[in-house]
Amino acid sequence: MQKYSVFSLVKNALSNHENWDLAWKDPTPKKEYDVVIIGGGGHGLATAYYLAKEHNITNVAIIEKGWIGGGNVGRNTTIIRSNYMHDDNALFSEFGMDLWRKMSQDLNYNVMFSPRGIINLAHSDAQMNIYARRGNSMRLNGIDAVLLNREQVQEIIPMADFSENVRFPIFGGLMQPSAGTARHDAVAWGYARQADSMGVDIIQNCEVIGFDISAGKINGVRTSRGDIKAKKIGLCVAGSTNILAEKLNMTLPIETHLLQACVSEPVKPVLDKVVTFGAGHFYISQSDKGEMVMGGDLDGYNSYAQRGNLPTLQHVLTEGIAMMPFLSKLKMLRTWGGIMDMSMDGSPIIDKTHIEGLYLNCGWCYGGFKATPASGWTFAHTIAQDRVHDLNAGYSLNRFNTGYLLDEKGLGTKTWIS
């Protein structure tokens, strides 16, 4: 594989960039693989990469109905953080933060990781207490957290509304300085390129039609490009989890919902942090191109539409303008939607299933992008060793049955009702 560097850039510039190697191949599917990963998104590509890198399993295929990186990894708001209170979430996410820090070097691909910090705003004394508690939990787990008072927040984000007579005055905030953003497409492409170079087959335009299961064991998968045998199959299909679960006769604690995001026209640098509104659900950062990247609530009803409705967008942006009034002056450049696999306690599932050789990775709700490396790493471990790693032991499928829910926000079931 061609190594990317400043020298290769100069060399290829001299030949008008016509001689770059293809970043990954376009193979025809073989009859059999050791492992088949269904879903060529961030998590599927990362899983294949870590199977090859950490476990030396390279006879692997990723099968993807559309094109790789075309789902939620191509349409998120790029936020990376580990500001969780519960141990299972905190340790998993912080493990991921380490992988993020090394990712550009590891993949020889600039994922533009920008640890610019995230601030969750508080709008009451009670919320400051809750943030102090969360910050302390984070620090006990080795994650950086800083509780900011109103003046400190004002110094960092003076463009927010600090007037006295607003409905939700800013009391302070909780900051994780090491959180940030990364270039989402680069993450998919970087993992794809490295996985491909280690022998993984990336098979696009290949839809799963059904599964070959006998005596409680998985034997393979039937696809639009022929039958593929495999003793181990990993599901990494985010918003399409319910569709594949039906083909497997499984009913999961997952509902498929639509989440919108949007970007404004590009403006001069104004915001160098990720900021979230504490009295609703709204988050914002500024991209390298200058666009304000914004998102918030789900549309609120089961949806596979991959495009949003305006009432939710209006609601979300109303919160944005309440937090940062200057946003009302910006024109909207683009809005889009993606379908989320909303789990019933708001936390993901990375586990084995009752079918031998079938592994499940789903339930990422709003938080799939930041989890990409840790999810791939732990899922690869679960598949390769046929047992969960300590890091994803809390993300079990049967926790809904046993009552060990991982309910970070204390919302209970049906996280879409809030």
Partner: protein, 89 residues
């Protein structure tokens, strides 16, 4: 924006409604022996498929009644609405 025909009030915009999830889910019979799996299916497990979906909505800013709506989860086309007391046919 969705337009939902409330069986009590007629056609209204989505803004007047709030969502209540899958309407085909049935609570296990009171007083009967209920297995963990049955509770699981009632509380957590959902089909949530692409296509026709019976769901509960509440006409919160209108008559405040719960209703059942059959909607396509991919196209948002609404086929039928029923009162909460009416059985899904």
């Amino acid at each position: 924006m969705l337009h939902i025909k409330c069986p009590h009030c007629g056609m209204r915009s989505q803004n007047e409604f709030s969502y209540g999830g899958d309407a085909s889910v049935k609570r296990p019979q009171l007083g009967s022996e209920v297995s963990d799996q049955d509770w699981d299916n009632f509380v957590y497990n959902r089909k949530s498929l692409r296509g026709k979906h019976w769901e509960l909505w509440q006409h919160l800013s209108g008559c405040r009644q719960w209703i059942k709506v059959e909607r396509d989860t991919a196209t948002h086309e609404i086929f039928k609405t029923l009162k909460a007391s009416e059985e899904i046919s």
